[in-house]
């Protein structure tokens, strides 16, 4: 008992021990409410049951019909370009709503409070042009006025010894104006 960390901490400072216990309790509550993205990114730790199929969806951006590649970049930039395209595509497919839009609509009934929070916790509209321009410039492909930027969903199958492209669909596209 006397060797327990919390006991020793309590002997040293009751305030610190209380803060630690409060932290543990808060963490347990967050955890029990499946808010496993809080404080430390559990990112579900590959602990969810994956879809039992042999295909993968990939999202990429085309500038004037040329796909912007990102796997050549070092890890973080590659990851940023990959995930930014994926998450934006999912947002667009979901009627331009992300998690917080749905969460606020469900939890906050008062429209003025909801709008106040939405202004801060959801991206500013209209977003497509801004996002497309930012994505292209971040990927070192400037998009001058008149460029066509498209967001494409690819489906790749892995049921054969070598993977193959099954399908591609345009999710949205925009002509960059002046």
């Amino acid at each position: 008992m006397k060797r327990l960390f919390l006991y020793q901490l309590g002997r040293h400072s009751r305030l610190a021990a209380a803060a630690t216990i409060l932290f543990i309790l808060c963490y347990a509550v967050l955890y029990s409410k499946k808010m496993d993205m809080a404080l430390f990114p559990y990112n579900r730790m590959f602990a969810t049951v994956p879809e039992n199929n042999r295909s993968s969806k990939i999202y990429a951006v085309k500038l004037n019909n040329n796909r912007i590649g990102y796997t050549k970049y070092f890890y973080w930039k590659k990851d940023f370009l990959e995930q930014a395209a994926t998450k934006f595509a999912l947002y667009w497919k979901n009627d331009h709503k992300n998690f917080m839009d749905l969460y606020l609509a469900q939890k906050i009934k008062d429209p003025s409070n909801r709008n106040f929070l939405a202004q801060r916790l959801t991206p500013e509209q209209p977003i497509l042009k801004k996002w497309a321009q930012w994505y292209c410039s971040y990927a070192d492909h400037p998009s001058p006025a008149g460029s066509v930027v498209s967001l494409i969903e690819y489906t790749m199958n892995f049921d054969q010894p070598q993977p193959y492209l099954l399908d591609s669909t345009e999710i949205t596209s925009i002509i960059i104006g002046k």
Binding site: F5, Q8, Y73, Q133, P163
Partner: protein, 312 residues
Amino acid sequence: MNLPVAHTGNYKRIRFAAAIVFTELLLMMFSGVSFSQLNGAAFFSFEADPLYWIIFGLKIPQTIIQHLWIGVIADILVLLLLILFLRNPGSNKIVWILMPLLLILYVTITGYLAHRNFQAGYVWFFFPFLFAKTVNRNFAYEATRYFLLFFYVSAAVLKLSNNLSFSPAHFSDFLVNQFSPYFLESNTGWRTDLNLFLIQHKSFSGFLYVSSIVIELLALIGFFTKKYDRWIAFLLYAFHFTNWIIMDIAPIGQLGFLALLFCREQLISPEKVKGQTSNFSKTASYKYVKKVLLIQLLKNLCRLVRNKLKKL
């Protein structure tokens, strides 16, 4: 009296761990992820996380990302404070600015990435250094260490609670998504070959998945003894680097944090906790102090004997 290692400024291992954090941040910045390099990003998304609600609610990331000059200043400040910390790990004043800044960097990056696969270890690394007094720092280090261990153990518990360890095909299904952009862009090599091999050999990939659960569970030992800290750290490094190869998930951001497991001897001092002997008394720094005191005692004894001899 000679002071224990933590007081004398002998922060060799802590500096080394902090140098890893510094390198991790430099790598991130040079690869194109920092406050200033995300300038103009418009889309962000996050889930149910009060930390994000507060920071985004205050419009901190939005303001930094929309103003290039603020981003540049924040990037320079992060690097400058890290250099200052490397020079003087004992100063908690630096950490009181650095840690919140790194937390904002982490929240900004992952908020605009809309995905939480960037490791947060480079933020939590600094928690023990928020405290000036050695005894407080010791406790903070202990708490951070437990949190680190809990992080890995809970990852294993999550997998076990979902019965994933008993379905070897699951890992193969996960792997289908990990390298697909490389195949799409025909940017293939030995890692994509390995990916295909593991997708096709479900039992072998299942074995690797179970091994990862075992490694994560081994961190549980750290809750009962500190003797195996470095072995736990080595195993977790192996786990992370294997993840990088097999799943294309880089551990950068977590490496310095894991290195804290090697710093125990320099952080834990033999101070008594309000008159009560703590279990810290078994640490190397305690032995060091004992040795120093013994040498001091012997010197004094020699001096006493010499003086007596002179008088005679």
